[in-house]
């Protein structure tokens, strides 16, 4: 692996040591990497001294960085190498107006003008408000019909547009157009006062507040050279697990509702709230907002809070396991979950799926184990049994992870009591001309933030990646040759973030 720089998760390095190679070599190295069990963590553009540059963060058992310089275009890696690059290259085209030549599906990602004020790659007029100014992929034929759904959906959920090409009930193709939630977060993160960064990152995806804000705070801690108390690391890990529990439990309930099996839907709905309330016990907010700050946590976990969490877990564990049994042993549920929305291991690898969506297809990757942060170092992984890549597998991974997370919290609570002081938000001096990448296993999978600082220590480029960025394509593929009536079920089994994708 010549030329690639091996880097640790959350390690700040000088920009000058980031390896830069000519584009042809860059493409060769990346191609080689992804064809040898490697995956892309981040791949984005930035401008350095007026020149366009690309930066890739990759992983196998370790993290690597590589950069290159490009002009106004470059030869698409999606075309020459692998599908893993496809969404990243579209994002590069949209954010910086740099064209990946021969990209097989060069289409806008979020619908906004590029950062460099150069002519738009997609020829869009952004004076027009609505994304969807785009000719969707169409299947033609006598019995083909098209179903368009969204952006406003029939429920309390986020906006997105779904376009199905069907023959009768059967879906040939699903195209997903997002961008409706775009708030311009990445740009804001380089412009606003430092005191706003944690709150903004908590707002990237509210259900992953802890996951995203951990990435942000770990990056700032690395760049400012500040250390975190071991006690605070334990609380942050507990919070990340509570977030995972609340979401997994809520999703099992929603899956149950989608197959019209109401008792578990009602029970899980209520049980989910119990875990949100535990986050409220920790920090006063049901989504854990305000808890994590650069340097530690805003409120310490005293004996009282630890005991409330411990007691609540003891009370809920048998209930959850009984309701899980009720859900997974019902044959009507099994009939709907099994062999629905299959993503094969090969496809999951090609698309680079992460989190439970990947694990359900047999990709073991869990960032808590591969690149442990906070208090995860000595903790063991969950090895899921079901790897068929269908709704049943994605649901049963959640079930296992629920039990696993509760176990982890017990272990973490037994280690609580280590030194921990509460932190207040301070103005930090960041290392100038530096680069850092942070990776955490949010409940949906790998969350990653990249920061580049300039000569004055200001954040010059802030890149956010939510696991949904990889996994939305997985959902679209899982619908191929499925009945359209199974869409809600497939959708819920992935439960991807619109806002985390849209930024």
């Amino acid at each position: 692996m010549d030329k690639l720089l091996q880097i640790d998760n959350g390690q700040a390095v000088k920009r000058s040591i980031l390896p830069s190679v000519p584009f042809a070599r860059f493409a060769e190295l990346l191609d080689d990497f992804v064809k040898n069990d490697g995956f892309i963590v981040q791949f984005f553009a930035f401008v350095e001294d007026g020149r366009n540059r690309l930066l890739a963060v990759m992983r196998n058992t370790q993290l690597y960085v590589l950069t290159t310089e490009v002009g106004e275009s470059f030869a698409s890696l999606t075309a020459s190498s692998n599908e893993k690059f496809h969404m990243f290259e579209r994002e590069i085209a949209e954010q910086y107006g740099i064209t990946p030549v021969d990209h097989p599906w060069l289409k806008m990602v979020r619908y906004h003008a590029n950062y460099r004020q150069v002519p738009d790659v997609f020829g869009n007029n952004y004076e027009e408000d609505i994304p969807g100014n785009y000719s969707y992929f169409q299947v033609e034929g006598e019995s083909i019909h098209e179903v368009a759904v969204g952006p406003v959906h029939a429920g309390i959920i986020e906006p997105g547009h779904f376009r199905f090409q069907c023959a009768g009930e059967e879906v040939f193709s699903l195209e997903i157009q997002l961008g409706y939630q775009h708030r311009g977060i990445e740009k804001m993160l380089t412009q606003v006062a430092m005191k706003r960064l944690p709150i903004l990152c908590e707002g990237i995806a509210g259900d992953t507040s802890i996951g995203h804000n951990l990435c942000c705070c770990q990056a700032l801690e690395a760049l400012a050279g500040i250390s975190v108390d071991p006690g605070a690391r334990i609380v942050r890990s507990i919070a990340l697990e509570l977030e995972r529990l609340a979401n997994h439990i809520g999703d099992l309930g929603a899956l149950s509702g989608d197959v019209a099996f109401n008792p578990p839907a009602a029970y899980f709905g209520r049980l989910r709230g119990e875990f949100l309330n535990l986050l409220q016990v920790l920090c006063g907010n049901r989504f854990g907002k305000s808890l994590v700050l650069p340097g530690g946590i805003s409120q310490i976990m005293g004996r009282e809070q630890a005991k409330i969490i411990e007691d609540k877990l003891k009370e809920l564990e048998p209930e959850i396991s009984h309701v899980c049994d009720l859900l997974f042993s019902a044959h009507t549920v099994q009939a709907r979950f099994e062999n629905t929305g299959i993503v094969s291991k090969k496809m999951a690898e090609d698309l680079g799926l992460v989190g439970y969506s990947g694990r359900a297809s047999g990709l073991e990757y869990d960032a808590r184990v591969a690149f442990p942060t906070e208090a995860y170092g000595p903790l063991h992984a969950n090895r899921n049994e079901m790897v068929n890549g269908d709704v049943y597998s994605r649901a049963s991974v959640r079930r296992e992870e629920i039990m696993h997370s509760m176990h982890l919290i017990h272990i973490l609570l037994s280690r609580a009591g280590e030194i921990c002081a509460k932190t207040t938000m301070a103005e930090l001096t960041l290392e100038p001309d530096a680069f850092v990448v942070t990776v955490n296993e949010g409940w949906r999978g790998e969350v990653s933030h990249c920061l580049l600082t300039d000569k004055a220590g200001r954040i010059e480029r802030y890149k956010v990646k939510d696991p949904s960025f990889h996994n939305w394509t997985g959902l679209a593929m899982s619908l191929r040759n499925q009945e359209i009536s199974d869409f809600p079920l497939c959708n819920k089994s992935f439960n991807l973030s619109y806002c985390g994708f849209d930024l």
Binding site: D129, P131, G155, H182, R183, G184, E202, F287
Partner: protein, 247 residues
């Protein structure tokens, strides 16, 4: 079948008896702030300086609850000298100005529109529109349909079509990309209609204030009838506001 019955017994009835009986939230929950009106000016400025939302008005000694995310930094930094947060979750208001809060809010029930109570008091159907938020407002609105809150026992429901709705409940800072769809949804609701701004984002842009990609104020598009502050509003804040405003 036996499993269903066994689980039913184990789960019991979990529905809260609120509003007949009060609910006490855990002491760390931050609701309506108590403000020390005679606090030292330097201390107030210190609180304002650390506020990520610039929600503290130093001269007036008020907090703009429409901007506030209730992160508690102002309480933490000054050890409560200027602000302490109470566990009072009833924070809905019928006007934007009333959210500029000196520690008290006007009683919502007395400021709602009389004809709303008459029209919607027994049945209120709302269309929820998520317009650029982070999904926590949506999630904590959805929670109202779980057995603990059981919103429909009050005759309030979230419906799928704007044509079936009496009004819209909007969350998020209204991204430019969602503006057209939001306006179309509003127009599809038959009059007379209600507009509810749920959460700091819909009221003021929330954490995203200043972004050129958002509208940042629902009031700039439509007349807003009910403001529900929070980041996100606690489900009880939303429930309290709906019950007081419409019942």
């Amino acid at each position: 079948m036996l499993k269903i019955i066994r689980n039913r017994f184990e789960q019991g009835c979990k529905t809260t008896s609120y509003p007949k009986e009060p609910i006490n939230l855990y002491k760390r929950y931050r609701g309506l702030p108590k403000i020390n009106g005679v606090c030292d000016a330097a201390m107030v400025r210190q609180c304002a300086a650390i506020c990520p939302q610039d929600a503290i008005l130093c001269e007036e000694r008020k907090i703009d609850l429409g901007k506030c995310t209730f992160c508690g930094r102002c309480e933490n930094v000054a050890e409560g000298a200027f602000v302490t947060f109470s566990q009072d979750f009833g924070m809905g208001t019928s006007s934007r100005e009333a959210l500029l809060c000196d520690g008290t809010l006007p009683a919502l029930a007395e400021h709602s529109k009389k004809h709303f109570k008459k029209l919607f008091g027994r049945s209120l159907q709302l269309r929820q529109v998520s317009a650029g938020g982070c999904n926590s407002c949506e999630a904590d609105t959805n929670v109202l349909n779980t057995p603990f809150f059981d919103l429909s026992r009050f005759g309030i429901d979230f419906v799928a079509s704007p044509r079936h709705a009496d009004g819209i409940h909007v969350t998020g800072p209204i991204s430019k990309n969602m503006k057209t769809a939001l306006i179309a949804t509003y127009e599809a609701v038959p009059s007379p209609k209600v507009v509810i701004a749920g959460g700091a984002c819909a009221i003021s842009g929330g954490p995203f204030y200043g972004s050129p990609e958002i509208v940042g104020d629902l009031g700039a598009l439509f007349p807003v009838d009910l403001y529900i502050p929070g980041c996100p509003p606690h489900p009880l804040t939303t429930l309290h506001a709906l019950l007081n405003f419409f019942k």
